[in-house]
Symmetry: C2
Subunit: 111 residues, 2 copies
């Protein structure tokens, strides 16, 4: 994530895929959306993990305008519709204002 | 997650484990802390995923007081120290106020 300090915004997207999502091309669409998001003004970064049960993607944005512009991007709208029709069994999307943050990095020699 | 509506708080904890974390008992400590968090006043729920590279745990709290009380819990303090000394290569912890949220659930017949 690029250097930036609170306050900024986080979009917390947790989701469960349908069993058929992989064969319907979910990974390719997700990859395209990630590449597109990175080009958006106000995009700060993303953290994403998926296991067999759940996926969590947290994307970070400078402000609410940046989130709104990304939501209104036409290719993103098409992908979201596809997601609801084909890929997702369920999801939660939360828009949250990051108020403070802490970073920890172990000493390299400590490993 | 229990029924609750915005605003409430999210603690976004993304982390990388040291290669030695599993053999040092990371899973057991994480499990104990999860059980303890669930008993805290103002705890609303958690979503957690880990793959080989990254773990993301998002816990949800009624308000900042609930987060502060959990942070000050003595067993949690001990576990956090252990985490920094033994388990984590790095982490980011972000405290964020959830301002709005959306939920989607596919029609059962659609799967």
């Amino acid at each position: 994530m690029k250097a930036d300090s609170a306050p900024y915004y986080a979009v917390i997207f947790s989701n469960k895929l349908k069993p058929s999502a992989p064969e319907l091309g979910y990974a390719k669409v997700a990859e395209q959306m990630q590449a597109l998001a990175e080009q958006q003004p106000g995009y700060l970064g993303v953290e994403s993990v998926r296991d067999a049960q759940l996926g969590i993607t947290v994307s970070y944005w400078r402000d609410e305008d940046a989130i709104r512009e990304w939501r209104n991007h036409v290719d993103h709208q098409v992908a979201r519709n596809l997601g609801r029709e084909q890929f997702y069994q369920s999801y939660h999307l939360r828009v949250a204002k990051v108020e403070r943050e802490y970073h920890f990095e172990a000493e390299p020699i400590d490993g």
